[in-house]
Each structure stands twice: as C-alpha cells, then as structure tokens.
C-alpha cells in the first residue's frame, strides 16, 4: 500500500500491543500466543486493547482509523502522543522513538509536533474562545500579544471571527468544534490528531465540518490522523483508511480498495451500507477508453474507425479530448475530400465528465447518453469512459472489483497527484 510514497513514513507504529489491567506484561506471552480477547479476559482479568498494530503514515496524508466502539481506535490515537503508553511496541515520529523521550522532552514533543482535536471538544469552560485557541501557545510560554494575534487569525480562518470574547458554553456544538480545530491549528504542529472530532455533531454540521477540513487541508498539507466510526466519513475525507476490529488491524488501504476489495466479512458488512455514488469518484470505476481516434486526416480516421468493432470513437488531439466521431459521418466526409484535415471536420460535441466528480453528480448525464461518456482529467486529456451499464453495475450492491486489478493500479498512480 505504501508504494506511492518514495519517502520515509512520517509516523511508524511497529508491533504495538496494549493490554489493560494490573500486570499487563505478565499477560503478554498469552497475547502473543494468539489467545482470544475473551479468553484472556476470563483467565486473567486483563483486557487486550490493541494487538500487533503496524502502521506507516506519510507526510501530508489524511489517515483515517475506522472502527466501531470498543475496537481500540481511541486507544490507538492516544498512543501517538503518549496519552496512553503501550505495553509493547515502538512509535517512531520522524525517526524519533517517542517511547524513549523523558517527561520534559515529551512535553516539548506534544507542544511542537502534534495537536489534538477531541470528540467532546475538550475546551476549557472557564476560558474565553480566544484564550482557548491560544492555549497551546500559552503553554509554550509565548507572550500574550503574539498568541492572541495568532489565535484571532485562526478563529477567522475557521469562520468564527467576532466570537473571541464568548465562552465555549455560549457556542453551538459545531462552533465549539471549530474552536477546537482552531486551537489545534494555532500551534502550527505538523500532525493533527482528530479523535472522532465530528462524531458529536449533527449530520448537516458534520458534513460542513468535513468540507472545511478538506478545504483547509488543501492549503495546509498537514498530516492528519482521523478517528471515526463512520465509514461514509472515512471514505469522504481519508486518503487512506485503516480498519480496526477488537484491537486488530483488519485492512489498510485507499478508500476504493476498502470499498471494492473488502478484506473480510466484517469490512464487507460495513461497506454494504455505504452510499456508493457519494463515496466513489468517476476515476475509481471508469474503464479505459476503448476507441480513440488520433488521425490527422479524415481518410486516416476512417481507416482507424474501420479497424474497431464499434461505429463511434473519441477524437483526441494533442490538446486533449475533442468530441465523438461517428462512422457514418466520416464516410460522408470522405466522399467529398479524403485528404481534408480532421481539425476542420465537425465532430459531435459531447460534454465529457471529470474524473474527480462523484458518481452521484454524473448519474443523470450517464443515463441519458447512448454512448459511454468520456472521462477527462484536469488537463482535458481523455482518461477513460463510463457506460451506463457499467455504472448501474457499480451502484448495485453485489458489485466487487476483485477480478479486475488493472484499474486499481492505475488509480493508485494518479490519486496522489491531484490531492
């Protein structure tokens, strides 16, 4: 899964175990032997929180850790900044072993490297919104004028200008979480830990916040570790998703992998309920363009056309996709002038769809068109096609992409570039 990034991962978790109880280290041999969570609980009274977790997280990605309650996701995120210490295992951030830091170093590490957003906001009720946002800086001992100036700026960025002197209890849930987000951004930490940050918000506000996060990420390029129990949310914002169940890592992959190649029944059960048209982009389901014409003259074009089984083709030049050409029209044109240039030939206009568009948005166009719709990238080059039959297939519940690996590789190579 990591082949798209040539650099070292920013954060590495190696063979991490967490056992809760009085003497966790004594239980570790049992855990390693592979005894089940329930057996260990019954035998020793210890709870296995996390089991053999290995993760690589790269700079600049939104890495979503997904799982139901009790899956250990909140425990896992608290290991990144050592709010919880692991029983065994290594946590490396930029190659530094976080477990080896002493108290002072750990404080410095938390101040400068990571910022956290909490499910129930974790705001200080006795401090004003401005003081809350500036909290990270005040802990660092930065003077009041500087930190207030910076906090004001971030409040404005998250759309809460004018609320500086309010107290958290005077704000709505969505506004409070914006304060939480501004507080996290205010420290300029490179890594953002978001623990079910949007789970406590109602659906409308939640999707608004997701949009805002995606927008912010486009400018800030932070490394975000995002915890959620909501697969729709995970698919929407995640560059990569890790699925956690009972403390085990079940699957790590890009949203499409999870959606189209679920690793086991557990993941599959999740994926079934996902709103596919809203979660998938055109790029993830399109087929390679079957028939394309690149000829300079009409005669040439007709020759190419005759070689293909269909009676239409997409006409492509160096400038990208131009339109659709029918065999009949070409045959008519050849009668008048075989050497006429294709540039002058009137191709049938057809609105191509963007490969980044959500399926949701292109359903009507696809269904109305007799031809498969051409798919173009941001430069206007033809990347693929999408037929209505294929779209219908994808949207039905029973579709999985297991047999077809070629499209998978293709999109892995290209997803990163436009994010």
């Amino acid at each position: 899964m990591t082949n798209e990034s040539p650099t070292e991962p920013l954060i590495q978790i190696k063979d991490l175990f967490k056992v809760f109880g009085k003497k966790p280290t004594k239980v570790m041999p049992m855990v390693r032997e592979g005894l089940s969570k329930d057996d260990i609980l019954a035998k020793t009274g210890h709870t296995v929180g996390l089991k053999a977790i290995n993760l690589d997280i790269h700079k600049g990605e939104i890495f979503v850790i997904m799982g139901l309650s009790g899956s250990g996701k909140s425990t896992l995120i608290r290991h990144f900044n050592r709010l919880i210490d692991p029983t065994e295992g290594q946590i490396l951030v930029e190659g530094i072993d976080v477990m080896k830091l002493n108290t002072k170093e750990l404080e410095q590490f938390r101040r400068n490297k990571m910022a956290m957003v909490f499910q129930r906001f974790g705001l200080m009720p006795h401090k004003s919104v401005l003081e809350n946002v500036a909290y990270g800086l005040s802990v660092q001992g930065i003077d009041k004028a500087t930190r207030n100036a910076k906090a004001t700026q971030w409040l404005e960025t998250v759309g809460l200008a004018g609320y500086e002197e309010q107290y958290p209890s005077q704000l709505s849930g969505g506004q409070q979480q914006r304060v939480g987000l501004a507080r996290a951004l205010c420290t300029d930490a490179e890594i953002l830990l978001m623990d079910e940050a949007f789970s406590a918000l109602d659906p409308l506000i939640r999707s608004e916040m997701q949009d805002q996060l995606i927008e912010l990420q486009k400018e800030l390029h932070k490394t975000i570790i995002f915890i959620t129990h909501d697969l729709d949310e995970a698919l929407r914002i995640g560059d990569r998703i890790a699925i956690l169940k009972d403390g085990n890592l079940i699957q790590v992959g890009e949203p499409v992998d999870i959606l189209l190649n679920p690793a086991d029944d557990y993941v599959e059960a999740f994926v079934k309920d996902v709103n596919r048209p809203r979660a998938l982009t055109v790029e993830t389901v399109m087929k390679p363009p079957a028939y394309r014409l690149t000829a300079d003259t009409i005669g040439e074009a007709l020759k190419q056309m005759k070689r293909i089984p269909a009676n239409y083709a997409y006409y492509v030049t160096d400038e990208g996709f131009q339109g659709v050409v029918c065999q009949e029209a070409l045959e008519d044109a050849v009668k008048t002038d075989k050497e006429a240039l294709m540039e002058d030939f009137k191709v049938e206009e057809m609105t191509p769809i963007s490969q980044d568009a959500l399926l949701e948005s292109i359903i009507p166009a696809t269904m109305e068109s007799d031809f498969p719709l051409p798919v173009i990238d941001s430069d206007g080059d033809l990347q693929g096609e999408l037929s209505r039959a294929h779209l219908a297939d994808v949207l039905s519940d029973f579709y999985t992409d297991g047999a077809d690996d070629s499209t998978d590789e293709e999109k892995q190579n290209s997803t990163k570039e436009d994010k």
């Binding site: 129930r120 200080m124 802990v139």
Partner: protein, 299 residues
C-alpha cells in the same frame, strides 16, 4: 473443671495492666510536653502574634470604620446590596445589644482559622487527588478528625500548649479542616477528563495543568468546602471558649452554667448572624465566579 465464666462475663484486661497502660501513655505524653512544649509553643509564636494583632485591629478601630470595611468587603465579594444591607443591620443590632467586642473577637479568630484551614487544606486535598494511596491514607484520618469528640483532642492540645488563643485555633482548625480537604480532592477528581487530556495533549506540565485547569474547574466544589469549613469553625466557638478563647462563646458558656436564658440566646443569635453573613457572602462569590465561567453577563 474448666472455668467457663468468660462465657457469661466479657473477659477483660485486669485492672492493674490497664492502669499500667494509662500511666505509661500519660507519663510519656507528659514528659513529651514538658520536654518539647516550649519549643512547640515558640513555633506557634508568629501565629499568636498575628492573632493578637488582628484582634486588636478589629476591637480597637472605631466601630464605624470596622462596619464600613466589613460592608465594603461583603459587597465586593458578593455584589449584592441586599446582603450588604443585612450586614449593616445585624452589626448595628449586635453593637446595640452590647456584643460588639465579643463579636469582633470571634470574627477575628474565625477568619484566622478559615485562612489557616484553606492554606493547609487545599494543598492536602490536591495531594489526595493526585495519588490514590495518599487518599486512602488521609481519608480515615479525616474521619477521625470529624467524629472524635472535640473535647478529646482538646486534652493533649491543652497539655502541650496550655490554654489560650493558639490551642483554641488548633482545635478549631482540626475540627473544621476536613470539608476543605475532602471537597478539594473531590473537585479535582471530578474535572472533565477530556479537558485535562486536552491540556496534557498540548504539552502542559503538571503545574500548568493544576493552575490552569484543575483548580479553576474545581473551584465551585472547593468553595463549597470552604463554606462548610467556615460553618464548622463557627460551631466550635463555644467549645473553644472552654480553653480560654475569648469571644461570643464565653457568654454562652457562662449562661449554660448559670442558666441565663436571654444572655445565651442573644450571643447565640450573634453567632448565627455571623454564620449567615459568612455563608451568603462565600456562596455569592462562588456563584459569581461560576457564572463568569459559563459566560453570563459579567465582564
């Protein structure tokens, strides 16, 4: 034949041994107090000096100056005209019925006891909240302090320090300090875990967490504890008067022994007036700081 008398009669220690134990303990403590009494007394000298200075200040300043400053203080902490008016009326009545001086003495000793209880109690409460072992160690001590009849621990205090103000203060503080300790501990333990976690996640050190998050958020609970402490200190005034603490307690004690109903009633009412003023003021202050926290109308 075996002796079964222990079945009908509780088998107790024989008199001689019991006497030995008592003699030994009493003797040891007496020796201890003879040996170290002076040292311990001189240790409390600064406290005594402060007590005397504060009492003099209240008793010897002109009554109107004291009344004005108390009213001003009450108004500043409570921001309530009603309460301030109540203070003026009750102090005027107290003065008119000839209890001004005793009331000032009681006021001074209660103030000192409360301050002392806070200064000692809050840090102990913080330590308890930090550490479960400390908590399980301190809790039974607090139970003893609260339930042991005050007279019992008056005895060693008097043996050690004689009668007077300082032993009085010590007795009152022992009796009144448990609520501050308990509620400081409770208040800190009840602080929202996620808020504290947030502070930790942003790299706050233990001191920053304590001063910036735990104490401010625990303050309503701590204030309730302080309020309780003040009430209990006032309740001890009569008992403290038995070891020579001057103030409203002494006339009450006198009226018990001589069956002076009215004298007892008046002085008792003065104590009640003090208690109500202390209670309402501290509660109003606590409420005000809480309101501020929840973003009320205050600036």
């Amino acid at each position: 034949m075996a002796d079964f008398s222990w079945l009908s009669k509780f088998p107790k220690m024989d008199r001689a041994t019991l006497l030995e134990i008592r003699k030994y303990l009493d003797g040891t403590f007496r020796d201890f107090s003879r040996e170290y009494g002076d040292v311990i007394e001189s240790f409390f000298d600064p406290l005594l000096d402060f007590l005397i200075w504060f009492e003099k200040l209240l008793v010897q300043s002109p009554w109107w100056a004291v009344l004005i400053s108390i009213t001003a203080l009450v108004y500043l902490t409570s921001r309530s005209w009603k309460l301030s008016l109540g203070v003026i009326v009750s102090f005027l009545l107290i003065g008119y019925f000839g209890m001004w001086e005793d009331t000032m003495r009681t006021l001074s000793i209660i103030t000192v006891c409360t301050l002392l209880a806070i200064v000692l109690g809050v840090p102990i409460g913080i330590l308890m909240a930090r550490n479960n072992r400390t908590q399980s160690l301190v809790t039974p001590i607090l139970d003893v302090m609260q339930t042991m009849p005050a007279f019992v621990y008056l005895i060693p205090v008097v043996m050690l320090l004689g009668i007077g103000k300082v032993p009085g203060v010590i007795a009152v503080v022992i009796y009144a300090i448990p609520p501050v300790i308990r509620l400081t501990n409770l208040g800190i333990r009840l602080v929202d875990k996620e808020v504290l976690e947030a502070a930790t996640a942003y790299g706050a050190n233990p001191m920053q967490r304590l001063m910036g998050v735990q104490l401010p958020l625990a303050s309503p609970t701590i204030m309730a504890g302080i309020n309780q402490t003040i009430m209990m200190a006032l309740g001890m005034v009569v008992i403290a008067s038995m070891i020579g603490v001057k103030g409203l307690g002494q006339p009450v004690l006198k009226s018990i022994t001589n069956q002076y109903f009215t004298l007892g009633l008046f002085n008792g009412l003065a104590i009640v007036a003090l208690a109500i003023i202390f209670d309402r003021t501290s509660q109003a202050y606590a409420k005000r700081s809480q309101k501020h926290m929840q973003g009320g109308q205050h600036d």
